[in-house]
Amino acid sequence: MRIQTVWIAFAIPVVFLAVPRLVLAADTPAAVQPIAPKAPASSTQTKPKMPPMAPSVTVMDAAGASGILGRAVKGADGKNMGRIVDVIVDTSGKVRAAVIDFGGFLGVGSRKIAVDWNALHFSGAVKRGDDVRLELTRDQIKAAPEYKEGKPLVVIGASGDLRSLGISTPAPAK
Protein backbone atom coordinates (compact mmCIF):
# COMPACT_ATOMS: atom_id res chain seq x y z
CA MET A 1 0.00 0.00 0.00
CA ARG A 2 2.78 2.36 0.82
CA ILE A 3 4.17 2.33 -2.70
CA GLN A 4 0.76 2.95 -4.18
CA THR A 5 0.12 5.80 -1.81
CA VAL A 6 3.32 7.45 -2.91
CA TRP A 7 2.33 7.16 -6.57
CA ILE A 8 -1.06 8.64 -5.91
CA ALA A 9 0.47 11.42 -3.84
CA PHE A 10 2.57 12.42 -6.82
CA ALA A 11 0.01 11.75 -9.51
CA ILE A 12 -2.76 13.88 -8.04
CA PRO A 13 -0.85 17.18 -7.81
CA VAL A 14 0.66 16.59 -11.23
CA VAL A 15 -2.70 16.07 -12.91
CA PHE A 16 -4.71 18.67 -11.06
CA LEU A 17 -2.11 21.41 -10.79
CA ALA A 18 -0.32 21.06 -14.07
CA VAL A 19 -3.43 21.37 -16.27
CA PRO A 20 -4.80 24.68 -14.90
CA ARG A 21 -1.27 26.05 -14.90
CA LEU A 22 -0.96 25.52 -18.62
CA VAL A 23 -4.25 27.35 -19.19
CA LEU A 24 -3.35 30.23 -16.90
CA ALA A 25 0.21 30.40 -18.11
CA ALA A 26 -0.41 33.42 -20.40
CA ASP A 27 -1.43 35.94 -17.73
CA THR A 28 -0.01 34.84 -14.40
CA PRO A 29 3.36 36.04 -13.11
CA ALA A 30 4.46 32.45 -12.86
CA ALA A 31 4.38 32.29 -16.64
CA VAL A 32 7.67 34.14 -16.88
CA GLN A 33 9.29 30.81 -16.20
CA PRO A 34 8.53 28.74 -19.28
CA ILE A 35 10.28 25.68 -17.90
CA ALA A 36 7.94 25.53 -14.90
CA PRO A 37 5.63 22.74 -16.15
CA LYS A 38 8.62 20.43 -16.31
CA ALA A 39 9.51 21.08 -12.70
CA PRO A 40 9.09 18.18 -10.29
CA ALA A 41 5.64 17.65 -8.86
CA SER A 42 6.62 18.63 -5.36
CA SER A 43 7.56 22.17 -6.34
CA THR A 44 4.48 22.82 -8.46
CA GLN A 45 2.36 21.98 -5.47
CA THR A 46 3.10 25.17 -3.58
CA LYS A 47 2.67 27.82 -6.21
CA PRO A 48 -0.58 27.74 -8.15
CA LYS A 49 -1.88 31.00 -6.64
CA MET A 50 0.68 32.84 -4.52
CA PRO A 51 3.93 33.04 -6.44
CA PRO A 52 6.78 33.53 -4.00
CA MET A 53 6.10 31.30 -1.00
CA ALA A 54 8.97 29.03 -0.14
CA PRO A 55 7.83 25.79 1.52
CA SER A 56 9.16 25.36 4.99
CA VAL A 57 11.49 22.46 5.43
CA THR A 58 12.17 20.83 8.76
CA VAL A 59 14.91 18.28 9.02
CA MET A 60 14.56 15.91 11.92
CA ASP A 61 17.15 13.50 13.14
CA ALA A 62 16.04 9.92 12.53
CA ALA A 63 16.96 9.25 16.13
CA GLY A 64 14.59 12.01 17.28
CA ALA A 65 11.32 11.18 15.56
CA SER A 66 9.50 8.09 14.35
CA GLY A 67 6.21 6.69 13.13
CA ILE A 68 4.17 4.87 15.77
CA LEU A 69 1.61 2.77 13.92
CA GLY A 70 2.04 -0.87 14.89
CA ARG A 71 4.40 -0.08 17.75
CA ALA A 72 4.24 -2.15 20.92
CA VAL A 73 3.02 -0.42 24.09
CA LYS A 74 4.31 -1.26 27.56
CA GLY A 75 2.26 -0.54 30.66
CA ALA A 76 3.25 1.32 33.81
CA ASP A 77 4.31 -2.02 35.29
CA GLY A 78 6.45 -2.88 32.26
CA LYS A 79 4.00 -5.48 31.01
CA ASN A 80 3.03 -5.71 27.35
CA MET A 81 -0.20 -3.84 26.60
CA GLY A 82 -0.61 -4.41 22.87
CA ARG A 83 0.05 -2.33 19.76
CA ILE A 84 -1.00 1.06 18.49
CA VAL A 85 -3.40 0.53 15.60
CA ASP A 86 -4.89 4.01 15.15
CA VAL A 87 -4.62 7.62 16.29
CA ILE A 88 -7.66 9.77 17.06
CA VAL A 89 -7.76 13.51 16.29
CA ASP A 90 -10.50 16.07 16.98
CA THR A 91 -11.83 18.66 14.53
CA SER A 92 -9.00 21.06 15.29
CA GLY A 93 -6.48 18.39 14.32
CA LYS A 94 -5.29 17.94 17.87
CA VAL A 95 -4.30 14.37 18.68
CA ARG A 96 -6.60 13.12 21.43
CA ALA A 97 -6.11 9.39 21.80
CA ALA A 98 -4.39 6.30 20.52
CA VAL A 99 -6.27 3.08 19.82
CA ILE A 100 -4.46 0.06 21.24
CA ASP A 101 -5.16 -3.52 20.20
CA PHE A 102 -5.05 -4.97 23.68
CA GLY A 103 -4.72 -8.52 25.02
CA GLY A 104 -5.62 -11.79 23.37
CA PHE A 105 -3.51 -14.72 22.23
CA LEU A 106 -2.31 -15.21 18.65
CA GLY A 107 -4.90 -12.68 17.54
CA VAL A 108 -7.87 -14.28 19.33
CA GLY A 109 -9.79 -12.28 21.91
CA SER A 110 -8.04 -8.93 21.56
CA ARG A 111 -9.95 -5.70 22.22
CA LYS A 112 -9.40 -2.26 20.73
CA ILE A 113 -9.26 0.35 23.48
CA ALA A 114 -8.73 4.11 23.18
CA VAL A 115 -6.26 5.62 25.65
CA ASP A 116 -5.57 9.30 26.27
CA TRP A 117 -2.72 10.67 24.17
CA ASN A 118 -1.30 12.39 27.25
CA ALA A 119 -0.99 9.07 29.06
CA LEU A 120 1.47 7.85 26.42
CA HIS A 121 5.19 8.54 26.57
CA PHE A 122 7.29 8.28 23.48
CA SER A 123 10.75 9.06 24.78
CA GLY A 124 11.86 5.46 24.42
CA ALA A 125 9.82 4.75 21.32
CA VAL A 126 11.96 6.56 18.80
CA LYS A 127 14.73 4.05 19.09
CA ARG A 128 14.02 1.14 16.80
CA GLY A 129 12.63 -1.88 18.60
CA ASP A 130 11.89 0.04 21.77
CA ASP A 131 8.38 0.54 23.12
CA VAL A 132 5.90 3.29 23.73
CA ARG A 133 5.07 3.57 27.43
CA LEU A 134 1.59 3.98 28.83
CA GLU A 135 0.95 5.37 32.31
CA LEU A 136 -1.68 2.71 32.92
CA THR A 137 -1.71 -0.95 33.83
CA ARG A 138 -3.56 -3.83 32.22
CA ASP A 139 -5.99 -3.95 35.10
CA GLN A 140 -6.92 -0.31 34.60
CA ILE A 141 -7.83 -0.56 30.94
CA LYS A 142 -9.12 -4.13 30.65
CA ALA A 143 -12.74 -3.28 31.43
CA ALA A 144 -12.91 -0.28 29.11
CA PRO A 145 -15.54 -0.50 26.40
CA GLU A 146 -14.23 -1.43 22.99
CA TYR A 147 -13.42 1.28 20.48
CA LYS A 148 -15.86 1.19 17.57
CA GLU A 149 -15.86 3.60 14.68
CA GLY A 150 -18.89 5.83 14.67
CA LYS A 151 -19.70 5.19 18.33
CA PRO A 152 -19.08 7.65 21.18
CA LEU A 153 -15.44 7.42 22.12
CA VAL A 154 -14.50 6.35 25.63
CA VAL A 155 -10.92 7.42 26.22
CA ILE A 156 -9.03 6.11 29.23
CA GLY A 157 -6.78 8.69 30.87
CA ALA A 158 -3.95 8.38 33.34
CA SER A 159 -5.82 9.97 36.23
CA GLY A 160 -9.24 9.11 37.49
CA ASP A 161 -10.95 5.80 36.89
CA LEU A 162 -13.80 4.25 34.98
CA ARG A 163 -16.30 4.31 37.81
CA SER A 164 -17.53 7.73 36.73
CA LEU A 165 -18.69 6.03 33.53
CA GLY A 166 -20.53 3.32 35.39
CA ILE A 167 -17.87 0.74 34.64
CA SER A 168 -16.62 -1.21 37.59
CA THR A 169 -12.88 -1.53 37.77
CA PRO A 170 -10.51 -2.17 40.66
CA ALA A 171 -8.62 0.80 42.03
CA PRO A 172 -5.25 1.48 40.37
CA ALA A 173 -2.54 -0.84 41.58
CA LYS A 174 -0.53 1.96 43.19
Binding site: M1, R2, I3, Q4, G67, L69, G70, K79, R83, V85, D86, D101, F102, G103, G104, F105, L106, G107, V108, G109, S110, R111, T137, R138, D139, I141, K142, A143, E146, K148
Partner: protein, 441 residues
Protein backbone atom coordinates in the same frame (compact mmCIF):
# COMPACT_ATOMS: atom_id res chain seq x y z
CA UNK B 1 9.38 -29.31 18.26
CA UNK B 2 8.18 -32.85 17.81
CA UNK B 3 7.52 -32.35 14.13
CA UNK B 4 11.16 -31.56 13.35
CA UNK B 5 12.25 -34.71 15.03
CA UNK B 6 9.68 -36.74 13.14
CA UNK B 7 10.38 -35.18 9.79
CA UNK B 8 14.04 -36.04 10.09
CA UNK B 9 13.22 -39.58 10.91
CA UNK B 10 10.51 -40.07 8.39
CA UNK B 11 12.38 -40.28 5.07
CA UNK B 12 14.68 -43.19 5.86
CA UNK B 13 11.82 -45.11 7.42
CA UNK B 14 9.83 -45.66 4.26
CA UNK B 15 12.32 -46.86 1.67
CA UNK B 16 13.64 -49.37 4.18
CA UNK B 17 10.29 -51.05 4.46
CA UNK B 18 8.69 -53.33 1.91
CA UNK B 19 5.22 -52.27 0.83
CA UNK B 20 3.71 -54.08 3.76
CA UNK B 21 -0.04 -54.27 3.87
CA UNK B 22 -1.35 -52.63 7.02
CA UNK B 23 -1.96 -55.49 9.45
CA UNK B 24 -4.99 -53.94 11.10
CA UNK B 25 -6.50 -52.82 7.81
CA UNK B 26 -10.08 -53.77 7.06
CA UNK B 27 -9.23 -55.98 4.10
CA UNK B 28 -5.59 -56.45 4.85
CA UNK B 29 -5.32 -59.89 3.35
CA UNK B 30 -6.53 -58.94 -0.10
CA UNK B 31 -4.13 -59.42 -2.98
CA UNK B 32 -2.42 -56.47 -4.63
CA UNK B 33 -4.89 -56.47 -7.47
CA UNK B 34 -7.19 -54.43 -5.21
CA UNK B 35 -4.63 -52.00 -3.85
CA UNK B 36 -7.14 -49.33 -2.86
CA UNK B 37 -8.66 -51.38 -0.08
CA UNK B 38 -5.56 -52.22 1.93
CA UNK B 39 -3.16 -49.29 1.73
CA UNK B 40 0.47 -49.93 2.53
CA UNK B 41 1.81 -48.65 5.77
CA UNK B 42 3.88 -46.09 3.87
CA UNK B 43 0.72 -44.60 2.40
CA UNK B 44 -1.16 -44.68 5.69
CA UNK B 45 1.69 -42.99 7.56
CA UNK B 46 2.20 -40.60 4.68
CA UNK B 47 -1.40 -39.46 4.97
CA UNK B 48 -1.07 -39.17 8.77
CA UNK B 49 1.85 -36.80 8.48
CA UNK B 50 0.46 -34.97 5.49
CA UNK B 51 -2.62 -34.09 7.52
CA UNK B 52 -0.42 -33.21 10.51
CA UNK B 53 1.92 -30.84 8.68
CA UNK B 54 -0.83 -29.29 6.61
CA UNK B 55 -2.60 -28.35 9.85
CA UNK B 56 0.69 -26.80 10.98
CA UNK B 57 0.94 -24.78 7.80
CA UNK B 58 -2.67 -23.60 8.00
CA UNK B 59 -2.28 -22.46 11.61
CA UNK B 60 0.16 -19.79 10.40
CA UNK B 61 -2.66 -18.22 8.39
CA UNK B 62 -5.09 -18.03 11.29
CA UNK B 63 -6.15 -14.95 13.21
CA UNK B 64 -2.47 -14.25 13.66
CA UNK B 65 -2.32 -12.58 10.23
CA UNK B 66 -4.02 -9.46 11.59
CA UNK B 67 -1.42 -9.18 14.37
CA UNK B 68 1.43 -9.51 11.88
CA UNK B 69 0.07 -6.91 9.48
CA UNK B 70 -0.45 -4.51 12.40
CA UNK B 71 3.24 -4.78 13.26
CA UNK B 72 3.97 -3.95 9.60
CA UNK B 73 2.18 -0.59 10.02
CA UNK B 74 -0.94 -1.66 8.19
CA UNK B 75 -4.10 0.24 9.01
CA UNK B 76 -7.20 -1.56 10.24
CA UNK B 77 -9.01 -0.70 6.99
CA UNK B 78 -6.41 -2.43 4.85
CA UNK B 79 -6.29 -5.47 7.13
CA UNK B 80 -10.07 -5.70 7.12
CA UNK B 81 -10.13 -5.51 3.33
CA UNK B 82 -7.61 -8.33 2.90
CA UNK B 83 -9.44 -10.53 5.41
CA UNK B 84 -12.82 -9.93 3.77
CA UNK B 85 -11.50 -10.65 0.28
CA UNK B 86 -9.80 -13.87 1.36
CA UNK B 87 -12.92 -14.88 3.30
CA UNK B 88 -15.02 -14.34 0.20
CA UNK B 89 -12.63 -16.36 -1.96
CA UNK B 90 -12.63 -19.16 0.61
CA UNK B 91 -16.43 -19.19 0.48
CA UNK B 92 -16.94 -18.93 -3.27
CA UNK B 93 -14.05 -21.28 -3.99
CA UNK B 94 -15.54 -24.25 -2.12
CA UNK B 95 -17.61 -25.67 -4.96
CA UNK B 96 -15.08 -25.02 -7.74
CA UNK B 97 -12.43 -26.51 -5.42
CA UNK B 98 -14.46 -29.68 -4.97
CA UNK B 99 -15.20 -29.82 -8.71
CA UNK B 100 -11.47 -29.57 -9.49
CA UNK B 101 -10.75 -32.55 -7.22
CA UNK B 102 -13.59 -34.52 -8.85
CA UNK B 103 -12.29 -33.63 -12.28
CA UNK B 104 -8.63 -34.41 -11.57
CA UNK B 105 -7.50 -37.96 -11.90
CA UNK B 106 -4.64 -37.52 -9.45
CA UNK B 107 -5.65 -36.05 -6.09
CA UNK B 108 -2.01 -36.21 -5.08
CA UNK B 109 -0.98 -33.91 -7.92
CA UNK B 110 -3.72 -31.41 -7.10
CA UNK B 111 -2.72 -31.43 -3.43
CA UNK B 112 0.95 -30.97 -4.33
CA UNK B 113 0.20 -27.87 -6.37
CA UNK B 114 -2.07 -26.47 -3.66
CA UNK B 115 0.51 -26.99 -0.88
CA UNK B 116 3.23 -25.43 -3.04
CA UNK B 117 1.02 -22.38 -3.68
CA UNK B 118 0.35 -22.05 0.04
CA UNK B 119 4.11 -22.17 0.68
CA UNK B 120 4.61 -19.41 -1.90
CA UNK B 121 1.90 -17.36 -0.31
CA UNK B 122 3.46 -17.71 3.16
CA UNK B 123 6.78 -16.59 1.67
CA UNK B 124 5.03 -13.57 0.18
CA UNK B 125 3.57 -12.68 3.58
CA UNK B 126 7.05 -12.75 5.09
CA UNK B 127 8.88 -11.04 2.24
CA UNK B 128 6.57 -8.29 0.93
CA UNK B 129 4.09 -6.98 3.48
CA UNK B 130 2.74 -4.50 0.94
CA UNK B 131 -0.90 -4.38 -0.06
CA UNK B 132 -0.91 -5.88 -3.57
CA UNK B 133 1.42 -8.73 -2.61
CA UNK B 134 -0.49 -9.67 0.53
CA UNK B 135 -3.85 -9.42 -1.22
CA UNK B 136 -2.63 -11.76 -3.93
CA UNK B 137 -1.08 -14.14 -1.36
CA UNK B 138 -4.28 -14.19 0.68
CA UNK B 139 -6.35 -15.02 -2.40
CA UNK B 140 -3.85 -17.70 -3.40
CA UNK B 141 -3.99 -19.22 0.07
CA UNK B 142 -7.78 -19.16 0.30
CA UNK B 143 -8.12 -20.72 -3.15
CA UNK B 144 -5.61 -23.47 -2.43
CA UNK B 145 -7.29 -24.30 0.85
CA UNK B 146 -10.58 -24.82 -0.99
CA UNK B 147 -8.91 -27.62 -2.93
CA UNK B 148 -7.07 -29.20 -0.01
CA UNK B 149 -10.09 -29.96 2.19
CA UNK B 150 -11.80 -32.14 -0.41
CA UNK B 151 -8.44 -33.53 -1.57
CA UNK B 152 -7.62 -34.97 1.87
CA UNK B 153 -11.01 -36.63 2.16
CA UNK B 154 -10.73 -37.92 -1.42
CA UNK B 155 -7.26 -39.38 -0.84
CA UNK B 156 -8.53 -41.02 2.35
CA UNK B 157 -11.53 -42.52 0.63
CA UNK B 158 -9.41 -43.58 -2.34
CA UNK B 159 -6.92 -45.31 -0.02
CA UNK B 160 -9.20 -47.23 2.33
CA UNK B 161 -12.48 -47.50 0.48
CA UNK B 162 -15.87 -47.25 2.10
CA UNK B 163 -15.43 -49.91 4.74
CA UNK B 164 -12.45 -48.30 6.44
CA UNK B 165 -13.29 -44.65 5.94
CA UNK B 166 -14.75 -43.93 9.40
CA UNK B 167 -11.62 -45.20 11.08
CA UNK B 168 -9.42 -43.30 8.62
CA UNK B 169 -11.27 -39.99 9.12
CA UNK B 170 -10.93 -40.40 12.88
CA UNK B 171 -7.22 -40.76 12.41
CA UNK B 172 -7.11 -37.71 10.12
CA UNK B 173 -8.88 -35.64 12.77
CA UNK B 174 -6.40 -36.78 15.42
CA UNK B 175 -3.36 -35.82 13.37
CA UNK B 176 -4.85 -32.55 12.20
CA UNK B 177 -5.59 -31.45 15.73
CA UNK B 178 -2.17 -32.55 17.01
CA UNK B 179 -0.68 -30.56 14.15
CA UNK B 180 -2.54 -27.34 14.76
CA UNK B 181 -2.15 -27.58 18.54
CA UNK B 182 1.60 -28.03 18.35
CA UNK B 183 1.88 -25.40 15.62
CA UNK B 184 -0.07 -22.85 17.64
CA UNK B 185 2.24 -23.39 20.62
CA UNK B 186 5.39 -23.28 18.47
CA UNK B 187 4.29 -20.24 16.48
CA UNK B 188 3.24 -18.43 19.63
CA UNK B 189 6.75 -19.01 20.98
CA UNK B 190 8.42 -17.95 17.73
CA UNK B 191 6.30 -14.82 17.53
CA UNK B 192 7.11 -13.94 21.12
CA UNK B 193 10.86 -14.63 21.01
CA UNK B 194 11.68 -13.36 17.51
CA UNK B 195 9.13 -11.54 15.45
CA UNK B 196 5.74 -11.89 13.87
CA UNK B 197 7.44 -12.22 10.51
CA UNK B 198 9.37 -15.30 11.68
CA UNK B 199 6.05 -17.14 12.05
CA UNK B 200 5.59 -17.00 8.28
CA UNK B 201 9.13 -18.21 7.67
CA UNK B 202 8.36 -21.20 9.89
CA UNK B 203 5.22 -21.73 7.82
CA UNK B 204 7.23 -21.75 4.58
CA UNK B 205 9.66 -24.27 6.04
CA UNK B 206 6.78 -26.49 7.19
CA UNK B 207 5.45 -26.73 3.64
CA UNK B 208 8.45 -28.94 2.81
CA UNK B 209 7.69 -31.84 5.19
CA UNK B 210 4.06 -31.49 4.11
CA UNK B 211 5.04 -32.23 0.51
CA UNK B 212 7.44 -34.95 1.61
CA UNK B 213 4.67 -36.71 3.52
CA UNK B 214 2.30 -36.30 0.59
CA UNK B 215 4.71 -38.01 -1.74
CA UNK B 216 4.96 -40.97 0.60
CA UNK B 217 1.34 -41.73 -0.16
CA UNK B 218 1.58 -44.09 -3.09
CA UNK B 219 -0.43 -42.76 -5.98
CA UNK B 220 -1.15 -46.27 -7.23
CA UNK B 221 -2.99 -47.07 -4.00
CA UNK B 222 -5.46 -44.22 -4.33
CA UNK B 223 -8.38 -45.71 -6.17
CA UNK B 224 -9.74 -42.90 -8.34
CA UNK B 225 -13.26 -44.31 -8.39
CA UNK B 226 -13.52 -44.48 -4.62
CA UNK B 227 -11.90 -41.08 -4.29
CA UNK B 228 -14.69 -39.54 -6.32
CA UNK B 229 -17.39 -41.55 -4.65
CA UNK B 230 -18.26 -43.57 -7.74
CA UNK B 231 -18.89 -47.20 -8.12
CA UNK B 232 -16.45 -49.13 -10.21
CA UNK B 233 -16.42 -48.32 -13.87
CA UNK B 234 -18.73 -51.04 -15.10
CA UNK B 235 -21.62 -50.01 -12.91
CA UNK B 236 -21.08 -46.26 -13.07
CA UNK B 237 -24.35 -44.37 -13.41
CA UNK B 238 -24.82 -42.04 -16.38
CA UNK B 239 -23.44 -38.62 -15.51
CA UNK B 240 -26.25 -36.15 -15.60
CA UNK B 241 -25.72 -32.49 -14.81
CA UNK B 242 -23.76 -32.80 -11.60
CA UNK B 243 -25.00 -29.79 -9.64
CA UNK B 244 -28.62 -30.38 -10.56
CA UNK B 245 -28.29 -33.95 -9.38
CA UNK B 246 -26.77 -32.93 -6.05
CA UNK B 247 -29.38 -30.19 -5.65
CA UNK B 248 -32.06 -32.89 -5.58
CA UNK B 249 -30.17 -34.90 -2.98
CA UNK B 250 -32.37 -34.32 0.07
CA UNK B 251 -30.07 -35.74 2.79
CA UNK B 252 -27.20 -33.65 1.41
CA UNK B 253 -29.26 -30.46 1.54
CA UNK B 254 -30.54 -31.26 5.03
CA UNK B 255 -27.02 -31.93 6.22
CA UNK B 256 -25.82 -28.67 4.66
CA UNK B 257 -28.49 -26.75 6.54
CA UNK B 258 -27.48 -28.50 9.78
CA UNK B 259 -23.87 -27.47 9.18
CA UNK B 260 -24.87 -23.90 8.39
CA UNK B 261 -26.78 -23.63 11.67
CA UNK B 262 -24.03 -25.41 13.60
CA UNK B 263 -21.32 -23.02 12.44
CA UNK B 264 -23.60 -20.02 12.78
CA UNK B 265 -23.75 -20.94 16.46
CA UNK B 266 -20.20 -22.20 16.81
CA UNK B 267 -17.79 -19.87 15.02
CA UNK B 268 -18.23 -16.78 17.18
CA UNK B 269 -18.02 -18.55 20.53
CA UNK B 270 -14.25 -18.68 20.97
CA UNK B 271 -13.55 -15.08 19.85
CA UNK B 272 -16.39 -13.88 22.06
CA UNK B 273 -15.17 -15.78 25.09
CA UNK B 274 -11.60 -14.61 24.39
CA UNK B 275 -12.69 -11.01 24.30
CA UNK B 276 -14.60 -11.54 27.54
CA UNK B 277 -11.50 -13.03 29.17
CA UNK B 278 -9.38 -10.08 28.07
CA UNK B 279 -11.87 -7.78 29.74
CA UNK B 280 -12.15 -9.91 32.85
CA UNK B 281 -8.69 -11.10 33.76
CA UNK B 282 -6.02 -9.02 32.10
CA UNK B 283 -2.90 -10.72 33.39
CA UNK B 284 -3.97 -14.25 32.68
CA UNK B 285 -6.05 -13.61 29.60
CA UNK B 286 -3.45 -14.62 26.99
CA UNK B 287 -2.68 -17.85 28.83
CA UNK B 288 -6.37 -18.61 29.36
CA UNK B 289 -7.22 -17.91 25.72
CA UNK B 290 -4.29 -20.13 24.71
CA UNK B 291 -5.72 -22.84 26.95
CA UNK B 292 -9.15 -22.35 25.36
CA UNK B 293 -7.53 -23.06 22.01
CA UNK B 294 -5.49 -26.05 23.15
CA UNK B 295 -8.05 -27.93 25.28
CA UNK B 296 -10.33 -28.79 22.32
CA UNK B 297 -7.30 -29.88 20.29
CA UNK B 298 -6.32 -32.34 23.01
CA UNK B 299 -9.87 -33.67 23.20
CA UNK B 300 -10.07 -34.05 19.41
CA UNK B 301 -6.74 -35.85 19.30
CA UNK B 302 -7.85 -38.17 22.10
CA UNK B 303 -11.33 -39.18 21.00
CA UNK B 304 -11.45 -38.87 17.18
CA UNK B 305 -10.39 -42.44 16.35
CA UNK B 306 -13.02 -43.65 18.80
CA UNK B 307 -15.60 -41.43 17.07
CA UNK B 308 -14.56 -42.97 13.75
CA UNK B 309 -15.14 -46.48 15.05
CA UNK B 310 -18.42 -45.57 16.74
CA UNK B 311 -19.73 -44.09 13.51
CA UNK B 312 -19.76 -47.60 12.08
CA UNK B 313 -21.23 -49.24 15.16
CA UNK B 314 -23.79 -46.67 16.34
CA UNK B 315 -24.40 -45.00 13.02
CA UNK B 316 -24.06 -41.30 12.21
CA UNK B 317 -27.23 -39.87 13.73
CA UNK B 318 -26.54 -40.52 17.44
CA UNK B 319 -23.07 -38.97 17.11
CA UNK B 320 -24.45 -36.01 15.24
CA UNK B 321 -26.97 -35.43 18.02
CA UNK B 322 -24.24 -35.70 20.69
CA UNK B 323 -22.03 -33.23 18.81
CA UNK B 324 -24.75 -30.61 18.46
CA UNK B 325 -25.93 -31.14 22.04
CA UNK B 326 -22.35 -30.43 23.17
CA UNK B 327 -22.54 -27.10 21.32
CA UNK B 328 -25.87 -26.23 22.95
CA UNK B 329 -24.45 -26.96 26.39
CA UNK B 330 -21.32 -24.97 25.63
CA UNK B 331 -23.34 -21.93 24.59
CA UNK B 332 -25.48 -22.07 27.72
CA UNK B 333 -22.47 -22.54 30.01
CA UNK B 334 -20.65 -19.62 28.36
CA UNK B 335 -23.73 -17.52 28.98
CA UNK B 336 -23.92 -18.19 32.69
CA UNK B 337 -20.47 -19.22 33.93
CA UNK B 338 -18.19 -16.35 34.89
CA UNK B 339 -15.05 -17.90 36.33
CA UNK B 340 -12.45 -17.82 33.53
CA UNK B 341 -10.92 -21.14 34.63
CA UNK B 342 -14.27 -22.88 34.41
CA UNK B 343 -14.72 -21.37 30.96
CA UNK B 344 -11.56 -23.15 29.88
CA UNK B 345 -13.06 -26.42 31.15
CA UNK B 346 -16.20 -25.73 29.10
CA UNK B 347 -14.00 -25.91 26.01
CA UNK B 348 -13.97 -29.71 26.48
CA UNK B 349 -17.42 -29.59 24.84
CA UNK B 350 -15.85 -27.73 21.92
CA UNK B 351 -13.43 -30.62 21.54
CA UNK B 352 -16.26 -33.16 21.57
CA UNK B 353 -18.24 -31.28 18.94
CA UNK B 354 -15.18 -30.54 16.80
CA UNK B 355 -14.08 -34.17 16.88
CA UNK B 356 -17.50 -35.50 15.90
CA UNK B 357 -17.93 -33.00 13.09
CA UNK B 358 -14.48 -33.38 11.61
CA UNK B 359 -15.10 -37.13 11.32
CA UNK B 360 -18.76 -37.02 10.33
CA UNK B 361 -18.76 -34.26 7.72
CA UNK B 362 -16.72 -36.11 5.08
CA UNK B 363 -18.26 -39.39 6.21
CA UNK B 364 -21.89 -38.34 5.76
CA UNK B 365 -21.06 -36.59 2.48
CA UNK B 366 -19.48 -39.84 1.29
CA UNK B 367 -22.60 -41.73 2.43
CA UNK B 368 -25.09 -39.54 0.64
CA UNK B 369 -23.13 -39.14 -2.60
CA UNK B 370 -22.08 -42.76 -2.90
CA UNK B 371 -22.30 -43.92 -6.46
CA UNK B 372 -22.64 -40.44 -7.96
CA UNK B 373 -18.97 -39.71 -8.62
CA UNK B 374 -19.43 -36.22 -7.16
CA UNK B 375 -18.16 -36.76 -3.64
CA UNK B 376 -15.84 -33.76 -3.83
CA UNK B 377 -18.27 -31.35 -5.43
CA UNK B 378 -20.69 -32.29 -2.65
CA UNK B 379 -17.97 -31.53 -0.11
CA UNK B 380 -17.72 -28.12 -1.75
CA UNK B 381 -21.46 -27.56 -1.30
CA UNK B 382 -21.23 -28.52 2.35
CA UNK B 383 -18.12 -26.34 2.73
CA UNK B 384 -20.02 -23.37 1.32
CA UNK B 385 -22.72 -23.88 3.94
CA UNK B 386 -20.06 -24.02 6.68
CA UNK B 387 -18.46 -20.84 5.33
CA UNK B 388 -21.71 -18.90 5.23
CA UNK B 389 -22.61 -19.97 8.76
CA UNK B 390 -19.18 -19.14 10.15
CA UNK B 391 -18.87 -15.74 8.52
CA UNK B 392 -22.35 -14.58 9.52
CA UNK B 393 -21.71 -15.92 13.03
CA UNK B 394 -19.11 -13.35 14.10
CA UNK B 395 -21.15 -10.45 12.72
CA UNK B 396 -24.31 -11.67 14.42
CA UNK B 397 -22.58 -12.36 17.74
CA UNK B 398 -20.82 -9.00 17.68
CA UNK B 399 -24.12 -7.24 17.11
CA UNK B 400 -25.90 -9.22 19.85
CA UNK B 401 -23.10 -8.54 22.33
CA UNK B 402 -23.15 -4.81 21.61
CA UNK B 403 -26.92 -4.56 21.89
CA UNK B 404 -27.86 -7.03 24.60
CA UNK B 405 -24.70 -8.18 26.34
CA UNK B 406 -22.77 -11.39 26.59
CA UNK B 407 -25.34 -13.69 28.19
CA UNK B 408 -27.97 -12.91 25.58
CA UNK B 409 -25.45 -13.38 22.79
CA UNK B 410 -24.42 -16.82 24.01
CA UNK B 411 -27.98 -17.88 24.76
CA UNK B 412 -28.99 -16.89 21.22
CA UNK B 413 -26.12 -18.91 19.79
CA UNK B 414 -27.20 -21.87 21.91
CA UNK B 415 -30.74 -21.44 20.55
CA UNK B 416 -29.44 -21.59 16.96
CA UNK B 417 -27.66 -24.82 17.90
CA UNK B 418 -30.98 -26.16 19.21
CA UNK B 419 -32.48 -25.48 15.78
CA UNK B 420 -29.70 -27.58 14.24
CA UNK B 421 -30.48 -30.30 16.77
CA UNK B 422 -34.15 -30.18 15.76
CA UNK B 423 -33.35 -30.54 12.07
CA UNK B 424 -31.29 -33.67 12.77
CA UNK B 425 -33.85 -35.07 15.19
CA UNK B 426 -36.90 -34.60 12.99
CA UNK B 427 -35.62 -34.71 9.42
CA UNK B 428 -32.12 -36.08 8.99
CA UNK B 429 -32.06 -39.77 8.06
CA UNK B 430 -29.42 -42.24 9.20
CA UNK B 431 -26.92 -42.41 6.34
CA UNK B 432 -24.83 -45.36 7.41
CA UNK B 433 -24.87 -47.88 4.59
CA UNK B 434 -26.20 -51.36 5.32
CA UNK B 435 -23.40 -53.82 6.02
CA UNK B 436 -24.02 -55.69 2.78
CA UNK B 437 -23.56 -52.60 0.65
CA UNK B 438 -20.15 -51.80 2.07
CA UNK B 439 -18.75 -55.19 1.30
CA UNK B 440 -20.43 -55.98 -1.98
CA UNK B 441 -17.91 -54.03 -4.04
Amino acid sequence: MIYLHESQNAPPKYPAQPPAVEPGGPNGSEPLSEPAIGPSQASARGLDWFVFFLADVQTGFGPFVAVYLTTQKWTQVEIGLVLSVSGLVALLGQMPGGAIVDWARSERMVATVAVALIGVSAAAYAAWPIFPAILLAAILHAGSSCVLGPAIAAISLGLVGRAGIGHRLGRNARFASLGSGIAAAAMGTVGYLWSSRAVFLVTVVLALPTLLALWHIRAAEIDPEYAHGSLHAKSRPPRSSSLAMLARNRPLLLFSSVLLLFHLANAAMLPLVGSFMTAKSSTWAPALIGACMVVPQIVVAAISPWVGTRSHIWGRRPLLLIGIAALVLRGLLFAFVHDPRLLVAVQIFDGVAASIFSVLVPLIVADVTFGTGHFNLAQGIVGTAVGIGASVSTVLAGYLTDQFGRSTAFTSLAFIAILALAVVWFAMPETRPPEAEVHEI
